[in-house]
């Protein structure tokens, strides 16, 4: 089973990367963009023996404890 975890900065936190990319995109002619935010994205493959439920528990734990810094980031995930 495969999980996709998306980690992004909390909305209240400044995203200098997104801001700079937005600015650059405008400069090279993509003018209709109002905001860009950049995050990270992980694809995690699990052992096929695990049940969906087990994978879900595992992913939540990993995302919360390892992949994100709860001070500035939040996550969402999808299991496929």
């Amino acid at each position: 089973m495969k999980a996709k975890v998306f980690v992004s900065l909390k909305k209240s936190v400044l995203d200098p990367q997104g801001k700079t990319i937005h600015h650059s995109l405008q400069n090279i002619g993509f003018g209709k963009i109002t905001e860009v935010r950049q995050g990270k994205f992980f694809e995690i493959d699990f052992d096929s023996e695990l049940t969906r439920k087990e994978v879900q528990a595992e992913v939540e734990k990993i995302a919360r404890d390892v992949l994100t810094n709860p001070v500035i980031e939040e996550f969402s995930y999808r299991i496929e």
Binding site: P16, Q17, T20, S24, N27, Q38
Partner: protein, 229 residues
């Protein structure tokens, strides 16, 4: 020989490159702003190190769209000498002037240290004054210097002698332990097929005075100068 040193807003080695060619080698040199398309009769262009446009997306990704890089591409097409150092190398890759791409260093951390590199090709204007197999002491400083290329393209790169520098041990041996960033085949610098565009991760301008710990970089600049005189 007149050198042009590009300045992107986030460049930070432009003064170092300028100092090396202007003060140490006594050549005329000029800065060229990223918005400009006029290379002012320069005979060689240095794309310096730094963080061109912040490089938050990918090193060199935005620089490729800058007006000055359009001019540099035309300059290179006409056979002009282009030297990309560190971020400059990354920009040349993104611009397509050189093949391949950079990944994050194998150790995932920024690496700043002196390394040894072996000169693999002395038939290009950048290394004409060196001998094949010479070992240079020269610093690196980067987070994304892990050069990668698919197997087929790498074979053709090797066949054409486009690998100019490789990371090596102090005695010149190419070993895994001497590879500071995981680059394929220990690649530290490559040139285009024609030999007039060179990209390298090590900083020759940081090895251009005895006080800085090495003068090996001077031979590269001198080779460039000699090639056009």
């Amino acid at each position: 020989m007149k050198f042009g040193v590009l300045i992107f807003p986030g460049s930070n080695c432009e003064h170092d490159a300028y100092h090396a060619v202007r003060k140490v080698l006594g050549q005329p040199a000029e800065f060229i702003w990223h918005q400009s398309t006029d290379l002012r009769d320069c005979q060689a262009i240095i794309v310096p190190g730094g963080f061109s446009y912040g490089d938050y997306l990918r090193t060199g990704a935005i620089a490729r769209f800058s007006p000055v890089m359009g001019a540099v591409r035309r300059f290179a097409d006409r056979g002009g000498l282009v030297l990309g150092i560190c971020n400059g190398f990354q920009i040349l890759l993104e611009t397509g002037l050189l093949p391949g791409a950079m990944l994050r260093n194998r150790g995932l951390k920024y690496v700043c240290q002196q390394v040894s590199i072996r000169v693999e090709n002395v038939r290009i204007p950048f290394t004409a004054l060196a001998r094949e197999g010479d070992v240079w002491t020269i610093p690196i400083g980067h987070m994304e210097g892990n050069y990668t290329l698919d197997a087929e393209s790498l074979r053709s790169l090797e066949r054409n002698r486009q690998v100019v520098f490789r990371y090596c041990a102090a005695d010149g041996e190419i070993t895994a332990g001497a590879n500071p960033n995981g680059s394929v085949a220990n690649v530290a610098g490559i040139c285009n097929a024609r030999g007039n565009v060179l990209g390298m991760m090590p900083h020759p301008e940081r090895a251009s005075e005895p006080l800085l710990g090495s003068e090996d970089g001077v031979r590269l600049f001198q080779s460039m100068i000699r090639s056009r005189s």
